[in-house]
Amino acid sequence: MYTSPEAVIAILGMALATIAVKASGLLLADRLPREGFAAAWLKHIPGAVLAALVAPALVTGSMAEVVAAVATGTIFVLSRNLFAAMAGGVLTVYLMRLWLGA
């Protein structure tokens, strides 16, 4: 158990930067109008962020990831169960990698 002043300053700085960004989103949201363009924009953010999170991982993945993504999507659409979809996806990618030897 040891640390240094430099490390403490760096970690506190990182923590302050992180909470400042997270808090600003909530505080600034109030200045945006409730209808019109900005409102429509805010409404579309969640889906767009999720699509942006997922897409690069799928495109840069191998055949195993693509097949696992299809399995994940199919399980979710059929069961509406997030955990089943996640577990099915992980299992599929595990088996596909074994099979493909990748």
């Binding site: 430099e6 700085g13 990182m14 997270k22 767009a48 962020v49 897409a55 696992a68 999507g73």
Partner: protein, 242 residues
């Protein structure tokens, strides 16, 4: 009877419901937490520094980037770049926490801003999904956040202890837990054809950005470009109808 009815909507129930909703994604948090703990040891962080960083910063992507910059000798620690990297990697949270505004009354905003510390991709997504169904609350958000925090902290320490024993989660397919979870969350948000164009634009912009720019910029760029595309389409359609 009325007591039971009140209990169903009590903050405590909401808190537990939020934690339950985040259980599946907590597993993905745990998988990344293990890896981060292992890598943190390799990067030269002490256990105390691991506890401080995970407990106070509590942001997975930013912490992974920090390991890249970290040096074991304090004199050469790049403090400025570490703080700037955390700021940039976390910029996308501006978009996320802004969408949580409807959960708070006007007088609660400042206290709510402090609570944003516990917002992660995971409990944010669960809460936004609950809001879309007419539910969701501050307690629900916090329940998921506390679960994610415990999951992240404990697996970081376990990973740190395990050292190099689990160096490759890829072997177990656990690296795919993240993608699978967010893919299912995305599909759950489908409300109709109006979502198709913004999602496609977001995906293409993110893929292009990830290809040309290092780091997590693709999330921010894809999120902004896709949602703006969706807003433009929606406003145009309204003008057209009027």
């Amino acid at each position: 009877m009325s007591q039971f009815a009140a209990l169903a909507d009590s903050p405590r129930e909401q808190f537990l419901a939020g934690a339950r909703a985040c259980l599946p994604v907590a597993i993905s948090v745990a998988a990344y937490g293990l890896v981060w703990g292992v890598l943190a040891r390799g990067a030269g962080l002490s256990l105390l520094e691991v506890l401080m960083m995970s407990g106070l910063v509590f942001a997975g992507a930013a912490q992974f980037v920090a390991l890249d910059l970290w040096t074991a000798t304090p004199a050469s620690l790049p403090i400025g770049p570490l703080v700037l990297a955390a700021f940039i990697v976390n910029l996308r949270y501006l978009l996320l926490t802004a969408t949580l505004r409807p959960l708070y009354r006007d007088g609660q905003l400042l206290r709510g801003a402090l609570g944003m510390y516990l917002v992660t991709d995971e409990n944010w997504a669960m809460t936004v999904a609950a809001m879309a169904r007419g539910g969701g609350s501050v307690a629900f958000l916090m329940g998921g956040g506390v679960l994610a925090w415990i999951s992240w902290m404990s697996t970081n320490v376990i990973g740190y202890g395990l050292g190099s024993a689990i160096d490759d989660p890829t072997r177990w397919g656990l690296d795919f837990a993240f993608t699978a979870t967010f893919l299912a969350l995305l599909l759950g948000m489908w409300k109709g054809k109006a979502d198709l164009v913004p999602w496609l634009v977001a995906a293409l912009a993110a893929i292009a950005t990830a290809h040309f720019v290092e780091g997590n910029w693709h999330i921010l760029v894809g999120g902004i470009v896709g949602s703006v595309a969706g807003a433009i389409l929606e406003v145009r359609k309204r003008v057209h109808l009027a």
